[in-house]
Amino acid sequence: MKLAVFVSDFKLASDTLDRLKADKLGIIFVANGVYHATTKENGKASHLLEKTPNLYAMSEDIQTRGMKDADVDKRVRVVNYGDVVDLIFNEYDKTAWL
C-alpha cells in the first residue's frame, strides 16, 4: 500500500504515525504540522523527517505562519494544493489525516 499521511499537528501525530506501515509512506505536513519541516528543538530536526524520504510541506501554511519556503528542511519538498491533488491521485493509494 502506498500511503500518504497528512500531519496537521506539531505535537500529537508521532505516536499514531509510528504505528502506520506502508510499502511507500509519504508525509504531507499541513497546518501546524509544517513546524516539523521548519523547526529544530534543541538543535535537532523533527524525527518525523527520518521516517521516509517522501516528505512534503504546504507552502501556504508555511507562509501563513510567517516563515518562508527557504526555511524548510532540504529533505522536504514544498508543495501547493494542486501538487497535493497530484500526489493523492498519482503517487499514493490511500490517505490518512493526523
Binding site: V84, T95, W97
Partner: protein
C-alpha cells in the same frame, strides 16, 4: 478524471482543517477531477445560509457556492445539522441533505478518499 471524496468532520468558521478541505476540493476540481464533500459533526454549521463574511475571517458560504457552481457535490449530515438547530430552509441552496449512506456510497464510488477530523 478521477473522483475524490472528502469527509469533513471538524468545526467550521475559522477552522484550519475546514479551510484545507475546501481549498483541496477547489484545487482538485480545477484540475478536472470530480469532488464530493461530506459534512458531519460540527462542520455541518457551514451549510447555514447568510453567513457574515468578516475581513480576515474565513467562512464557508461563498466558497461552498463557488464549489457547487463548479460541479462539486456537497452534502451535510441531516441528523447532525438539525441537532444543531439548523433547518433545511435555512441552508445554502443546492447543498444536499442526507444520511451517512450518502457518504458511504460516494466513498465506494471514489478513487481516493480523505477523511479529515472526527473524534
Amino acid at each position: 478524471m478521477a473522483t475524490l471524496t472528502i469527509g469533513c468532520f471538524p468545526g467550521l468558521v475559522g477552522n484550519m482543517t475546514y479551510d484545507f478541505a475546501l481549498k483541496l476540493a477547489e484545487a482538485a476540481v480545477n484540475k478536472g477531477h470530480k469532488v464530493n464533500i461530506w459534512f458531519s459533526g460540527n462542520a455541518v454549521g457551514s451549510v447555514k445560509a447568510h453567513q457574515k463574511h468578516l475581513k480576515d475571517y474565513s467562512t464557508g458560504e461563498k466558497h461552498l457556492k463557488a464549489l457547487i457552481e463548479k460541479g462539486v457535490e456537497i452534502c451535510t449530515c441531516e441528523a447532525c445539522t438539525v441537532a444543531r438547530g439548523i433547518q433545511k430552509p435555512e441552508g445554502i441552496e443546492k447543498v444536499q441533505w442526507n444520511a451517512m449512506h450518502w457518504y458511504l456510497a460516494k466513498i465506494h464510488a471514489s478513487d481516493r478518499v480523505l477523511q479529515i477530523g472526527g473524534e
